[in-house]
Amino acid sequence: MATDALSLTFSALADPTRRAILARLTAGAATVKELSAPFAISGPAVSKHLRVLERAGLIVRTREAQWRPCRLEAAPLKEVAEWADEYRRFWDMSYARLDEYLEHLQGKERNDGDST
């Protein structure tokens, strides 16, 4: 594999059509035809998007059936979303702690004069 998994996830998610396809798949497995319906693009164009999503491990396509339904594979998405969520929470909570710490430092400075 040329690139790492998360880079593939990032680039797969960067396209609005692909995000819309993933959103549709959260409602359940669907065929290429079903997935093409809401978009003003051709079946082959949708297939191209599906290949990108498949390569990123975001969807799985059943090999057996002729109509090859696609289903969502949530694990990589979950990883990215949790990271983003955690990142935001991280700073929010760190800054709350910094508020308290600054208060503590300011109290100390008043007593010590110039601190390090």
Partner: protein
Amino acid sequence: MATAPEVGTTTFTTPSDREIAISRVFEAPRELLWDAHTKPEHVTQWMLGPEGWSMPVCEIDLKPGGEWHVVWRRSDGSELDMRGEYREVVAPERLVSTERWGEDWPETLNTLLLTEQEGRTTLTTTMLYPSKETRDAALDTGMKDGTTESFDRLAEYLRTMA
């Protein structure tokens, strides 16, 4: 004068296609905020995220070209490693550095700006991503285009479907 955000509220915005900005107002002079971001003995006291995290490693070589390296440890024993390089060091107002969360993540260029007014300091950290795509992926990650509010909803949603 622009309307200042309230003290104690962290604001997340997207100033351009490739950026995410975090802003917050503190009841302290900016020299103190500068120290809080640039001296390991201070950084390790607060830059800890949610409960249950500690920072066993915090190395700061505060000069242009100097490197920084921090490691967070969670109570479950897992670790997060983050490092980068300082590009601009202008005490006590401007700190530009790169940030890497490891091979898997795009490197960002972070600019910390501190402005003081009447004893209050506004902190703004702007993270510049290599492309709009990587920024959007980091920010949006989701099912629809939207603001940072989608983080919480998406994460919650994904948890329910896992």
